[in-house]
């Protein structure tokens, strides 16, 4: 249906929708995040759910403690090498469709602690990330902004056709290999399937 016609009908009190839109509308307004706090950003994540910012207004009222009941993992804080396998395992245990928000500098790239021997330089080495929020820590408003960006992404996902959402493609994995603790660090140091390194083209 054409957008103009739809808008016109809406003015007259006739609402039309496609199955895809209805389905995505439902999904985007009931994203349940995982109660998963790692470090400083987790406090801002909690602050976002509290009275002043109230993330519940966006349908994310329920923070689930079990990954089996969660749709979204907010990686909020520094992922250390000791913790990385557990984060990947939690991600693997979440049912599809699932989304990842990398909240704060540490989760994106290791942030200020990236020179540390026990700090993972970004969670996108092991699991795919949908939205990155820079900041150290990002303000609660920034998390809400990222949450809305994720909602827009969900609303725009196609259910059929070649460009359909990641979780609907049979060839994309739902689980990723869990890194192991080696003698000097994590093995492997990254998952080449997921990670896109920065290329400098001179």
């Amino acid at each position: 249906m054409e957008q103009d016609l739809k808008a016109e009908l809406q003015k007259h009190g006739v609402f039309t929708t496609t199955f895809e839109e209805l389905y995505n509308w439902g999904r985007k307004n009931s994203v349940w995040p995982l109660t998963f706090g790692l470090a400083c950003c987790a406090i801002e994540m909690i602050a976002t759910t509290m009275a002043r910012y109230d993330l519940a207004r966006f349908g994310a009222e329920v923070f689930r403690a079990s990954p089996r009941q969660a749709d979204l993992i907010i990686v909020s804080g520094t992922v250390t090498k000791k913790m990385a396998p557990q984060v990947v395992r939690l991600y693997n245990q979440m049912p599809e469709p699932k989304y990842v928000i990398a909240m704060g500098a540490c989760a994106i790239s290791g942030g200020p602690f990236r020179d540390g021997y026990n700090v993972l330089k970004g969670i996108d080495r092991y699991i795919p990330v949908d939205v990155h929020i820079p900041g150290c820590p990002p303000r609660p408003e920034a998390l809400i902004d990222a949450f809305m960006a994720l909602q827009r992404k969900i609303a725009g996902q196609q259910l059929t056709g070649g460009a359909r959402a990641r979780h609907l493609k049979p060839e994309t994995p739902s689980e990723y290999p869990v890194p192991e603790h080696g003698e000097h660090g994590l093995e492997p140091t990254l998952n080449a399937e997921v990670w896109n390194p920065l290329r400098v083209i001179q």
Binding site: C40, A42, M50, A51, F113, D115, G116, N118
Partner: protein, 389 residues
């Protein structure tokens, strides 16, 4: 403790179904964490259970070990200041102070009077918001889901507004400098802080009335997690936890750092050292903090905010070492610095109160049930950024 428990007479079926049918002979190993809603971050406890009773508990650390000490040994003295914010990320102002105090001891810089007062104000505001948050989390662990934490964060936001007003950031203030503070209080800030201090007793009454008399809270906290005074001292427990066991040791009174000797305040003490005492300790300390805040805001002098000898870049203290400590909301926060005369410290060590307070976790939890472990851990008040650093 473990052996005595095994000898205890046991009724049939008391070991619970999970441990199997062999009466009391089988132990169940449970790993609580690192992803667990009640561990206040990424912290793991390897608990051995006999039925519901804890017979062994070993904390496992390091899930948030961010190598703060090593990074600090590679950056300049000033460059470590924003990293100290991220130690105990609820109390960045007091961490800043502890580090600034230590470097001042090392270099001989002297903060002016106004800066000292500002530091006291910031530290006490930090203490109020930390204790309010802690009580919220503790009550949440006991099942009072939501409401106390909501109240705590409502008040915390007001304090964070004050922090943001002066330093520009909500949590990671990076506000103190060696020999003073970074910027002066903006216009209207003191009035804003006074307005908060005036309202604070009302909030504290409300917060105390909310659950203090609740029979459930009393049943869950009184007599739980007993910590005798001798053990607390020997295990290096500090802060509200030590004072809840009845030991009168508050660095604000003992070391009299800053200008704490100019304020009149009391040091609340507990009797038994159980979870209830630790819970009440926080409530009482918040009231004392509010009284210090009122005095400091009343007496706040004018003048400069930074020692004129202090310089931002290229600080090179003389070779030597120093240990500085303050009474942070969680206990004695110390910094141990060794300088070799270069621009970065040769050795930089943080004495984390949260980590050392956990030394007695096993002693407090033995012979209690799993549900009590959660409450006892909550009453210790840990922040993983500081435990693992």
């Amino acid at each position: 403790m473990i052996s005595s428990l095994k000898e205890m007479p046991r009724e049939a079926g008391e070991t619970g179904g999970m441990a199997g049918s062999g009466a009391g002979s089988q132990l169940l190993e449970v790993a609580m964490g690192p992803h667990h809603p009640s561990t206040h971050g990424v912290f793991r406890m390897d608990v051995q259970l006999e039925g519901e009773r804890v017979v062994r508990l070993k904390p496992v650390f390091g899930y948030l070990h961010r190598n703060h000490e090593q990074i600090a040994e590679k950056t300049s003295y000033l460059g470590s200041m924003p990293y100290t914010d991220r130690l105990d990320y609820l109390c960045s102002m007091s961490n800043n102070w502890a580090y600034a105090l230590t470097v001042e001891k090392l270099t001989g810089l002297q903060p002016p009077e106004r800066a000292e007062y500002i530091r006291v104000i910031m530290a006490e505001l930090t203490r109020v918001q930390n204790h309010a948050g802690l009580i919220g989390f503790l009550l949440q662990d006991m099942g009072a889901s939501g409401t106390p934490l909501m109240y705590a964060f409502r008040e915390r936001e007001k304090i964070l507004d004050l922090f943001e007003w002066v330093s520009g950031a909500r949590m990671m203030c990076n506000y103190m400098r060696f020999g003073g503070v970074r910027v002066d209080l903006p216009e209207g800030w003191v009035e804003g802080a006074l307005a908060f201090v005036e309202r604070a007793p009302r909030f504290l009454d409300e917060y105390e009335g909310l659950l203090r008399n609740s029979e459930i809270v009393m049943a869950r906290t009184q007599g739980v997690g007993l910590l005798p005074a001798e053990l607390a001292v020997n295990a290096g427990v500090t802060g509200p936890m030590l004072r809840a066991s009845g030991v009168n040791y508050d660095l604000r009174k003992v070391d009299r750092y800053g200008v704490y000797d100019r304020f009149s305040f009391r040091v609340p003490l507990g009797e038994k050292g159980d979870v209830y005492d630790r819970y009440m300790m926080r409530l009482l300390e918040m009231r004392e903090s509010v009284s210090i805040l009122a005095q400091a805001l009343r007496d706040l002098p004018g003048g400069p905010i930074l020692d004129p000898k202090s310089k931002l870049r290229g600080l090179r203290p003389k070779a030597g070492e120093v240990y500085g400590r303050i009474e942070a909301p969680k206990g004695e926060l110390g910094f141990y610095l060794i300088s070799d005369g270069s621009t970065n410290p040769y050795r930089y060590r943080v004495r984390p109160p949260s980590l050392i307070n956990l030394t007695v976790l096993e002693d407090m939890c033995l012979d209690r049930s799993v549900a009590d472990v959660v409450v006892i851990l909550g009453s210790v008040d840990i922040v993983l950024g500081e435990v693992d650093r």
